[in-house]
Amino acid sequence: MNPLDKIRQGLRDVFPVVLAYFPLAVAFGVLASASGMPAHYNFLTSAWIYSGGAQFMLLSLLGDAISPFTIISTLLLVNMRHIMYGTSIGPYVRGWSEPYKWLGAFGLTDEVFAVVSSRLDKNERLSVPYFITVMLAAYGSWLAGTLAGYGLGTLIPSGMAEILGFALPALFIALLFGSERSRADWTAALCGALLATVAALLNAGGIGIVLGGLLGAAVAMKVKPKRQEHS
């Protein structure tokens, strides 16, 4: 496939993410604006952290009187899941030059990972034009949505902003339930949910997500039959 086809394929694959990111980022912009976060910080959060889960969580943590150190630790623990994404995409970018790897890594969000990993074939390598297209389109949508949301923030009543906050669980549900899943996948998801919930009950929510991810996947290994579709 030539690079232009790769770009076209990238645009096709990323389209649902672009469509979903925009309103989600609008929701973030609205909520941030409603919480009194200044415009430049609002934009900086989306441009620099670029992680929906952490950004929404940041807003709720800023509302409580918590030390900056605790906030940062919680957000980083939540975002530790990205290590798993890089690790599993890694083998497919072996042929990339170092700068591309370091650049491409920035765009490796939950949804971009979900889209890209569903495309990966065992012996195929990930194409640079394809990945950069996916990455830039998703990032652009996220930034545009944040700006639009901040603009709307002052106009939208706070009740409506709260309702938009459901965009985040809805997005996770779409990612989890919207693709073909094996019994082992469901086991992983259930164990992850259980562990994270117990951890949250013990006020250790951030570490719970990491533990839920690692141990949930480990338990799933016990119930396979081996999956054939992708690794």
Binding site: L19, A54, G90, F172, N203, G205, L214, A217
Partner: protein, 106 residues
């Protein structure tokens, strides 16, 4: 607000290092099949882990099902995701369901 700048800056750097470090390392180390398989289960496990507390708890406490608008909206949203396999449709329907439940019941 000065704190806020540092919170954003450090969280952003940390998140980027998670993404880049693992990608660069992952591209150098050859993982065996078992590790690869384990990694394929990590994505559903993390999604489950992020959803569990959001759906079942509020402020780290149990919420009874009848008072839990998030869970009541999430269940049909799951069904929609499963049946349609469509990303945006699921998110939109989810938000509308949540709005409806908040408006009508809770």
């Amino acid at each position: 607000m000065e704190n806020l700048f540092w919170i954003i800056a450090v969280t952003g750097v940390g998140t980027y290092l998670f993404r880049a470090g693992s990608l660069v390392l992952g591209s150098r180390v050859k993982w065996n099949e078992r590790t690869k398989e384990w990694l394929s289960y990590v994505s559903p496990a993390v999604l489950g882990a992020m959803l569990g507390p959001v759906l079942l708890l509020s402020d780290n406490r149990w919420v009874s099902v009848t008072d839990n608008a998030v869970l009541l909206a999430a269940l049909p949203t799951m069904l929609i995701a499963w049946k349609t396999r469509r990303f945006l449709l699921t998110v939109t329907a989810g938000i509308l369901l949540y709005a409806l439940i908040r408006y009508l019941i809770l």
